[in-house]
Symmetry: C2
Subunit: 279 residues, 2 copies
């Protein structure tokens, strides 16, 4: 089985490593419009070859788009235009706009929309690593719009990445992603901006960061290239969850301003319920 | 050297382990008004003995208060009332109110205010662990109000805990702690409350959490008993930093609502500057 991976950053590069290492792919062909990343990916052995998109597709059985959603909106139709027997999947973090864009494409059925829920705050080919996806979940969206063979193909990809798959419609996916993943990133970005504005002395930030800040702010290292399109393409859901978040923050503010320790205590205890859900 | 530790939770218990293990303390005597915690601490070997406060102080050279700031406001004067040659230090996360409360105590000079910047989201004696403090910083406040011998004593405690010490006045400490540590906790609590309200389906939270949520929400597992008094005793600074935080969040909201990708991109890139400061 030959696999083309479009986008040789954290996600694409990490998939390349494990699909090859675990015997799923004989050949990994990399495609990246960023020539430096393409060169690095080949140089450090993430891919067996780099190529232009059309040549890569011709010699492949599976095509993975591991690029920001804004780029996928442009690249996915081009890929579907030229495929013959190939199965296509993407790793994008928002799904509704992308699925809408190719809904009536003649090769729609050979494409499976997916979102592997894994990552780190780092980006680029150097950030790629084995095991990134292990034990995590990947969401497959609107699988009834794909043919069964393609869905089976994609499930085998995720099996090789040691991920379990969950099926969901694209709209639900985007809502859940806003609630659980996108707001986490926004709250981290806002935290970094707050601290950078208030703390002109970087040595103080460093010294005090072990009090929990480093964990909460970790996602603020995430790439603007990836995250700007996510917020743009999940606008409505993200705005709704920001509003709820700001209401909660305002309740904390009010209770602290009033010196209402019972209310503060109750809100913290309520939020502690997250213990039984996340590790 | 015998050491009394008042409060046998995460912080006190972890200090007990390393002060004993590294040969700093011959005997660790534990004091905890929570009889269950005291019993557990003795049972799992965190302390050599448990005792009431006055008896423990009599046989000790150093007394460490590892209790919430609201309790320390009540316990610290009682400790200072009865000490003879002993040095007293505390681990509290806010300093101004505590220092003000004992400013004119006759034994003030034998007390050193400190805040070891370490911790986890867990609490209680079972959460105690070796190495919790290693490589982190501890802030010593208003050391000019303590005598040199006591300051040297306390520096040796932190040396045994493998911490470096930084000196700062209490007001600055409370401001920096609000900016770097306290707001991180509030943003995490607010995030947990948001997701718990929006996501009634806990299985979805679990499946999607690996997208970064687990890291950002980690601090929301923190104890209400510890954190409520921190917000109460650092009210003014915490309110100011919440206001800045909400302004940043509002800027994100506005830019997303306007579909202004340049503004979103710029804010993310600006927040990425945190990369060079935190690990």
């Amino acid at each position: 089985m030959n696999v083309t991976i479009v986008g040789l950053g954290l996600m694409g590069g990490s998939a390349a490593i494990d699909l090859k290492k675990r015997g799923f792919a004989e050949q990994i062909i990399g495609v990246d419009k960023n020539k430096v990343n393409a060169h690095i990916a080949q140089h450090i052995g993430l891919v067996d070859a780099v190529s232009d998109l059309e040549t890569a597709i011709k010699v492949s059985d599976i095509v993975i788009l591991a690029i920001p959603v804004s780029s996928a909106l442009e690249v996915l139709p081009r890929v579907l235009d030229v495929i013959k027997h190939q199965t296509v999947l993407d790793f994008c973090s928002t799904k509704k706009d992308l699925l809408k864009s190719i809904k009536h494409h003649k090769n729609r059925k050979q494409y499976v929309a997916s979102h592997p829920m894994a990552g780190t705050e780092f980006s680029g080919p150097w950030a790629a690593k084995t095991g990134l996806f292990d034990g995590k979940a990947s969401i497959l969206c609107n699988t009834e719009e794909s043919d069964m063979k393609s869905v089976e193909h994609v499930k085998k990809v995720y099996d090789a990445l040691h991920m379990r798959t969950i099926e969901m419609d694209a709209e639900s996916h985007d809502i859940h992603a806003a609630y659980v993943s996108h707001i986490s990133h926004i709250s981290s970005f806002a935290l970094a901006l707050t601290v950078l504005e208030k703390e002109k002395n970087e040595k103080h930030i460093f010294d005090l960061a072990s009090g929990g800040f480093d964990s909460t702010v970790r996602l603020a290292k995430s790439s603007a290239e990836m995250w700007t399109p996510i917020f743009m393409h999940n606008q409505e859901n993200v705005l709704e969850v920001i509003d709820t978040y700001m209401e909660k923050m305002q309740s904390f503010r009010d209770s602290i301003a009033e010196g209402n320790d019972t209310a503060i205590n109750n809100m913290i205890q309520e939020s502690n319920r997250i213990k039984r859900i996340v590790k």
